[in-house]
Symmetry: C2
Subunit: 340 residues, 2 copies
């Protein structure tokens, strides 16, 4: 095999506030020789997700951060070019964590083989991947929706929110999305089948949310924080559950804004539970069975926002934090031989 | 039976900020004739508790509020003077909810008979009553402490906090109290056996709390809110649980202060759960068996702050909201024939 080089996006400097393109740089490095138990993968798709803002922030968190000079982390779908690992062979399609690069070497930890006959490869980063499973675990295991209840989900057209709402519909709930702009709201109602979707950019957002939730809110799947959270809490019902998945509205903040007063949680006996999908890996088989099945039956739909070329990743990521993407944001890094 | 009159404290006006004595008035009213299924009780002890501030606030909450002109609500221990209810007879000692008055008529709903041979009557308002059960349900069912974990409880010398900490010790945890002033902190450690207690009035409170919690905080039993909550969250461990029982630091606030940013809850996958003991009445038998047993074995101690005379109730209640009481605050309204 000829010596390969990998293009990679590394963090150049820690962003202060919103990341800028110059906080990243594209470099090229030779791919190291494969050791025993390792696989070499050509990246086809790279997933861009809001959690990455936390990884580059320098703040202590649940996972190791990315320091300046480090490769940007991220979930990937790729094709195995060479394997010295008994679990994988050349030509396998896999979902792994090779990060923002064209070629990655891994020991296969957490890497799973994909069957392109079951679903498009890219779905392993979205509806059938980490975002979909985040929705599944957060809504079902923490939100515990009961038929007839009202669920509100923020970032409703996003990779997680879209699945949350459709799961809520399957569970017999009234589902109300919150999204930014008319197009996203229409998509959420018309394509995803939510009962309503409220544009958080409206001046009368709180009033419109109240109108969309005539029986109050029993489950709030929290992706954003900020003003949306404040409006939701004014409508929260006794014994409501709030799976706390993300707070994207504040990820670029240089000082953490204050949160809501806890009186509303006390009086209404609300449950708030922060969660990270990787703590719930035991639910992967259930998730793949259920959501995979509903996807094949057409009961769950998804939308992808695919950007071409690794060099576009920084700009796309910056846009993600501002809500510029529409659907699951994915960078196409290399050819997908199973598509077109 | 001669016509009786009852002295009663009614709400005169809604307090703005801290209640004043003039927000209450002492009135006298004839006791109505007893109907079928009713009991007439002479009040011996009246419980004063922080939740009463919410009831007189005019804000919609989980229970019916007290309007100006209404009798102040509250748990009571009394002696049955007359009964037309098959479950009670003259001379029975009972724990009920007759409110701030010397004589009450009730239909017996939620009223339980007390055996003075088992425990002093007044304990039915404290360690073996609503506050004790609040501690039991909140710590065990929501906090779910595991041996070796660190529990922090605010208002540690109070009726709820004192039981929380002692239950924590029984469960094999490191227990750290937060209380106001040297005397209370010494009592909490020396008498109640907490591992440490930190005075929230200290300038270096946050540093002292950190020193008392070298392994971080796994369970925070929240009674107060405000600055104590902020300091606790800086030390919170992954997967911590926060039973949210009270927020007494803000009960007199005219505007709700902001709360903590939720980022710390997300990153640490913290559970916050507001609760009200009356939702958990199914746990009463377990509570009475466990805490009653530990009390008789001397493994749980308690302290009462007894004020004499119904007319003292408003002033005592005002002090309670400022932390002036030391131990479970009780008003002795009438003679206790089982004591002295």
């Amino acid at each position: 095999m000829p010596a390969l080089s990998s293009k990679r996006v590394v963090l150049k400097s820690r962003p202060v506030g919103a990341p800028k393109p110059t906080d990243f740089s594209l470099v090229e490095a030779p791919v190291p020789a494969l050791g025993d138990g390792e696989i070499l993968t050509r990246t086809i798709y790279l997933s861009l997700d809001p959690y990455m803002r936390g990884r580059i922030s320098g703040v202590k968190s649940y996972a190791k951060g990315v320091d300046p000079g480090d490769l940007m982390v991220g979930g990937t779908v790729g094709e195995v070019l060479e394997s010295k690992h008994p679990g994988f062979k050349k030509g396998d399609f896999v979902q792994g964590y090779d990060g923002w690069q064209t070629h990655g070497v891994s020991k296969g930890l957490g890497v799973r083989t994909l069957d392109p006959a079951q679903a498009p490869l890219s779905t392993a980063l979205g509806v059938l991947g980490m975002p979909g499973m985040t929705a599944y675990v957060g809504l079902l295991d923490i939100g515990k929706p009961k038929a007839g209840e009202t669920i509100v989900v923020s970032a409703a057209s996003g990779a997680v929110g879209a699945v949350v709402g459709q799961l809520g519909t399957i569970k017999g709930c009234r589902v109300v999305g919150v999204a930014g702009g008319k197009d996203k709201c229409e998509y959420v109602v018309d394509e995803l089948g939510f009962d309503a979707c409220v544009d958080y950019k409206r001046d009368d957002f709180a009033t419109a949310l109240q109108a969309a939730c005539p029986k109050g809110i029993d489950v709030y799947f929290e992706n954003v924080g900020g003003a949306v959270l404040g409006a939701v809490l004014k409508l929260i019902n006794p014994f409501a559950r709030i799976p706390l998945c993300g707070l994207v509205s504040q990820y670029n903040a240089t000082e953490m804004p204050a949160g809501p007063n806890w009186g509303v949680l006390l009086v209404n006996r609300v449950l708030v539970k922060g969660f990270i999908v990787s703590d719930h890996i035991d639910r992967l088989p259930d998730f793949l069975r259920d959501v995979g099945g509903w996807l094949r039956e057409g009961r769950i739909k998804y939308r992808e926002d695919i950007v071409n070329g690794l060099e576009q990743a920084p700009e796309a990521f910056i846009g993600l934090l501002q809500g510029r993407n529409f659907g699951k944001l994915i960078v196409k890094v290399g050819e997908d031989p199973t598509r077109r």
